[in-house]
Symmetry: C2
Amino acid sequence: MSRWEPNARGRLADAALELYRERGYEQTTVAEIAKRAGLTERTFFRHYADKREVLFSGAGELQELFVRAVADAPESAAPIDALARGLDAVSETFAGRRAYARARHAVITANAELRERELIKLASLSAALADTLRRRGVTEPAAGLAAEAGVAVFRIGFERWLADDGERDMTESVREALSAFRAVAAGE
Amino acid sequence: MSRWEPNARGRLADAALELYRERGYEQTTVAEIAKRAGLTERTFFRHYADKREVLFSGAGELQELFVRAVADAPESAAPIDALARGLDAVSETFAGRRAYARARHAVITANAELRERELIKLASLSAALADTLRRRGVTEPAAGLAAEAGVAVFRIGFERWLADDGERDMTESVREALSAFRAVAAGE
């Protein structure tokens, strides 16, 4: 926001994540985050509403990207294929960010309030996807079910990618989850 | 708990739901619930930890019933077919309870804190189902995906049953959701 604070937003996010992992989320204050980033509290609040927001500020963009890819799929694409495009679009944005994603995930998993927040964000993503599918002419209950499936595949593919030791990228992990999902639904 | 208060638990639940609908969940106190039910606050707290618990005390039993039916499915049953048995078992318990389920759902939908609580209960159900499937020998990511699918089908079948004007029972509505889910996954 100011040319005097290059990449303040990213520096604050990195500092926050470091502190949440070192001391725990509950124990960390905004003052400490700002100090670790070499910035002021005022700067912190120009970028984030509170210390929780640091962890979830990306959720809005992710949802927008997902929804846009589904909306832009060819008119002839079946709901699940439109969702597959959204999953690919979202997965690509995680390239090179596994260490950060892992650290963030560990912080969230360790805290009940943050886990709840994550559930709410995923429910919001599901509702937005169902809405997008309905606008593509998909009726209920198919739209709602497909949207829930899309979110489940995203979440489980993401978690498997985080847990993976190898160099597999998230796209591959999410595609594998989608295949497994189709197999499960087919009664395999 | 006492022979002097026949069906105290049910009377408290009915009174609470009435008041939540009349005045809103936030505005209702435990004292008012007890009074409406013709019981004391002390009796209320013998049955429920707080006013929120009145709405969610059934979730544990529902989860147990669902999990048991999945666990008891024939060894040869595919994950989705084991889940179908759980869905049937759970749906049956809602027979004759649509008016109550509708009122409860309206109260929950109107309050952000209660919606969050509902999400947490559903996440817990999903985790328990995934665990049950793993114990049946289902590997990941199939177990997690199947469990999420089971919860999505339950939730969407349930909501469609609530919204339905006719006399269709919940079993039918949930089975229809399961079919729609299979069709979506098959790319229809």
